[in-house]
């Protein structure tokens, strides 16, 4: 190594890291894999299938516990979905894993035609949702929720943390029919255990109440929203957080009730493009019901996102805690 290199400032890395957890944040290792192993003991119909990403979706935990119930389909996402459909036709409940980009963009028609049209019991768990990798557009699934919401019969879930994922796994197995769930993998933050919260499929939950702002959010943006609420409390801004882990079917009645309480700025925050995700779903639901609070969206831009280190990118695109806090303060004037 040359001395010139050694003197340069250390650059932030976009290397694929296994966790989105902040420094010092409490985490749980591989909550999806462990929850699936636990559930599989009671449900012999569960099989695990992947397209060369077992180790990167925490399905390797299941593969180690149940090698005879684990099926490697190779780097072939269309095959993965079609074969999962065939397996489900024969009475199994496949949990299939890959990255969100590959499932939704490469294998969309296979999920649509082979799984959803026949209402098959296939559970699709996809890592790297939204902007949770710095690898650039090839790996960033900024539009996965829009795509999956548009598919008839598909239940769509965006969990916040390890607790959400642990409780989501048995809930989706209990639900009959196809499910698309976003997955956080590796060392997954644990946040919701500090609140009076339990995951229920199809239910939005008010995790924290607040008089000035209501953030309606899903996935990791609920974690951010709770951090924002703590940060803005110092400025005497009271922020409530309504967590909506089930994107479809949307818990419209809870959303309308909370958004309809007068005097609050309503902010929908999502780890997804502004197009076709939670924000537009809620905006449309509010308009249809004639509920018209002050409404704002915090979401990723309609653009091919940059490569880089995640903290850099979350700041750049306004979904870090600090960026979000500043945006909301700005809106409040």
């Amino acid at each position: 190594m040359s001395t010139v290199t050694a003197q340069k400032p250390k650059l932030k890395t976009s290397a694929m890291i296994a966790s989105i957890a902040g420094e010092g944040q409490r985490t749980v290792a591989a909550p999806f894999g462990h929850a699936l192993v636990k559930l599989a003991a009671e449900r012999p119909e569960i099989v695990g299938m992947t397209a060369d990403l077992a180790k990167y979706t925490d399905l390797h935990i299941f593969a180690q516990a149940y090698p005879e119930r684990f099926y490697q389909m190779g780097m072939a996402e269309q095959l993965l979905m079609g074969a999962a459909a065939g397996f489900a036709h024969e009475g199994a409940m496949p949990f299939v894993t890959t990255y969100a980009v590959f499932a939704t963009r490469r294998a969309y028609d296979f999920m649509h035609q082979t799984i959803a049209e026949d209402d098959l019991n296939v559970k699709i768990a996809c890592a790297l949702p939204g902007l949770t990798t710095g690898y650039g557009p090839s790996h960033q699934a900024a539009e996965d929720l829009a795509l999956m919401r548009a598919m008839p019969g598909m239940t769509v879930i965006d969990p916040c943390d390890a607790l959400d994922i642990e409780q989501m796994v048995p809930a989706v197995a209990e639900h009959k029919g196809p499910v698309y769930m976003r997955l956080l993998r590796g060392q997954v933050p644990l946040v919701l255990d500090e609140y009076d919260y339990k995951f229920e499929l199809g239910k939005a939950k008010l995790v924290r109440d607040g008089r000035d702002v209501l953030v309606i959010s899903s996935g990791i943006m609920t974690m951010r929203a709770l951090e924002v609420a703590k940060a803005l409390a110092a400025d005497r801004i009271d922020v409530g957080v309504l967590h909506v882990p089930t994107i479809k079917p949307l818990d419209t009645s809870t959303i309308l009730r909370e958004a309809g309480r007068s005097g609050r700025l309503v902010v929908v925050a999502e780890n997804h493009t502004t197009i076709g995700g939670l924000g537009e779903a809620i905006g449309a639901a509010l308009l249809r019901a004639g509920v018209t609070p002050q409404f704002r969206q915090i979401a990723l831009p309609d653009a091919f996102l940059d490569a880089g280190a995640l903290p850099t990118l979350h700041d750049r695109y306004g979904i870090s805690t600090e960026a979000m806090s500043n945006t909301i303060k700005g809106w409040l004037g």
């Binding site: 079609g82 074969a83 065939g86 489900a88 024969e90 028609d109 082979t114 026949d118």
Partner: protein, 281 residues
Amino acid sequence: MDTSVTAPRAKIAEHAYRIRRNALRMGEVQGQGYIAQALDIADVLATAYFHAMRYRPEDPAWEERDRFLLSNGHYAIALYAALIEAGIVPEEELETYGSDDSRLPMSGMASYTPGMEMSGGSLGQGLTIAVGRGLGLKRKGSKSFVYTLFSDGELDEGAVWEGLMSAAHHKLDNLIAIVDVNNQQADGPSSQVMAFEPLTEKMQAFGWFTQRIDGNDLDAVIAAFDAARNHPGPEPRMIIADTLMGCGVPFLEAREKNHFIRVEPNEWQLALEALDAGRKA
């Protein structure tokens, strides 16, 4: 009919004739359609449903049945003709083919028709589903076979090759695939749209026990199904069936650009008569 039927050859030939006849009658309902394909694949379907497959007409979901997955959904007219002949679909429904509220839509869908095991039409998907079914049957310890029919045009789809690789990788000896090589797809001869030969060598190289036959030579079709079922190796089984579009109706055999043919109203009767003439010959 809950075990392998193994009807005498003459009976299978009669079933093939009646499958062709059913298809022509359905074609007449719409005045057009994938008639030429139905005529070319009739011998394969007659052999599948009246020689090779286990099923119960009165219970299409019987757990111990052999599964038949139609990947090329537009061949539904041919499969309906076979399902009618097999007693799974009542013959009188033939007149509803492709009409509103019919159980026999133009493109085959599992939720519409008894005995239809998958929704085809988005081409190149059948083999991937068949792989999953093969894995699922093995996991259950089932002795049932999965048959899947797809067309030479579907070989253009990358997912077919994903299925080919994985079936061999997973040693799916309960999977029997039939490729209908009629060398015709939407835009013209399949070999010109996207060259697929040498197909036998490709399938063998992908690890399949492969036979290539004249798909309109009934003896060859029967022998190929027998060999596919009885092959002792762990490989998935491939039958490449070279077929003649419009087989059995000479003036349709001669018609060009016959992926989706228009048949004039007066020609349906002529087609049936030509079919009958060939049967007597």
